[in-house]
């Protein structure tokens, strides 16, 4: 049997293989157990975001996806609501092994870190008032803010290089209403997202 179609495969289902040379070696189809272990491993090796790790494992080590398939699947997940990597596990699991694949991939991704984080929470509940621990966590939070600032700067570059002012204005409006005024997220998004879509549509 050939592999089932995988999201982002350059064109068509497996019955009509794509001519792209990158897709030439058929991706390997993992079992449910392999799926679980893969996503648990990705999850536990990824500090501060797991994208880089998932790419390395899926594309380079296990060759379950070609780079093109990975990029396309990830692009789809990036604009779905919820965690990008969680959506990735849902869709990848689905394509490989149907609903069971989805469930197993999500369980692998979320199960181990949730257990771990409860352990961390229990320690914090006991020692959270120790001044040295507090200061260490404040330091980590300060560093994490720095990482977010760097992410914002990287995202802003292509946005602000384009000649139109609308995209930066939408970013600014979002920042003021959520980050400064602290309005509820659903209300803000229900106004800003349609506006942003209208602008993107008009500039097609």
């Amino acid at each position: 049997m050939t592999s089932p179609p995988i999201p982002g495969s350059t064109a068509t289902p497996a019955a009509n293989p794509s001519p792209s040379p990158a897709a030439a070696p058929q991706p390997v189809r993992p079992t449910l157990a392999e799926l679980f272990i893969a996503f648990a491993t990705i999850s536990l090796s990824g500090f501060g975001g797991v994208l880089a790790w998932s790419r390395r494992m899926m594309v380079e080590e296990r060759k379950w996806l070609t780079p093109e398939q990975f990029n396309e699947t990830y692009a789809l997940c990036a604009f779905l609501p919820g965690g990008n990597i969680i959506n990735f596990s849902v869709i990848f699991g689905l394509r490989i092994r149907g609903a069971a694949g989805s469930a197993v991939a999500v369980a692998g991704l979320m199960g181990p870190p949730v257990l771990l984080v409860m352990f961390v929470g229990a320690i914090y509940a006991h020692y959270g008032d120790v001044p040295a621990l507090r200061r260490m966590l404040t330091g980590v939070a300060a560093a994490a803010v720095g990482l977010l600032v760097a992410t914002v700067a990287k995202m802003a570059q292509p946005l602000f290089r384009s000649s139109t002012i609308t995209a930066p204005l939408i970013s600014l409006a979002t920042f003021i209403s959520i980050g400064i005024v602290h309005w509820p997220l659903p209300l803000v998004l229900m106004v800003i997202v349609p506006v942003s879509i209208a602008v993107a549509w008009a500039r097609l």
Partner: protein, 177 residues
């Protein structure tokens, strides 16, 4: 903290809705979590929220596990399970159905429009997360210097985030923050 049925209900309801509004990944939803957990429900203080965010950064796994930590703080193990399930459930079901239909949608115009429309919003939300966490942390000039140094290092070099966290934690342990 004592948790009763209504606490679990609030946790489940809030995070289930947030699940479908968390565009651009876990960090985009942090300001809304702070607004609800600290300002509306008073489940955590500002300081505790900042600590929770830091602990989630130090734990391997998707950024979204911060919600399990919030749930644990509010209502123990069951609270963590209720919270993470509510946060993942709706968006996973949504992704499942989109994933099933994605072959049909691929290459369509709205895909392009939607991704272009959401990038500036995600940018604003990520900046908001930085602002909200910065206000919860007790900043002195050394903490501010850590933020600046981390931002510059992460922007100009490829450095693993754990290094930044380790240096920052060490400075904190030495009593400099």
């Amino acid at each position: 903290m004592k948790a009763d049925g209504s606490t679990y209900l609030s946790l489940a309801g809030f995070f289930a809705v947030l699940s479908l509004f968390a565009i651009g990944g876990g960090n985009s939803a942090v300001p809304e979590m702070h607004r609800y957990a600290v300002d509306v429900q008073h489940w955590l203080t500002d300081q505790q929220f900042g600590d929770t965010f830091a602990l989630a950064q130090l734990t391997p796994g998707p950024n979204l596990i911060i919600v399990a930590l919030i749930g644990y703080h509010v209502a123990g193990v069951l609270g963590a399970v209720v919270t993470i399930s509510a946060m993942c459930g709706p968006s996973c079901v949504f992704a499942f159905f989109i994933g099933s239909a994605a072959e049909r949608f691929r290459g369509m115009v709205w895909h392009n429009v939607l991704s272009r429309a959401l990038i500036p919003v995600t940018l604003g939300l990520t900046a908001s997360s930085a602002a909200v966490i910065a206000t919860t942390a007790d900043y002195n000039w050394i903490a501010a210097a850590i933020t600046l140094a981390t931002a510059l290092t992460a922007y100009f070099m490829r450095v693993h985030p754990l290094w930044a966290f380790a240096v920052a934690a060490l400075l904190g342990a030495c009593g400099l923050i």
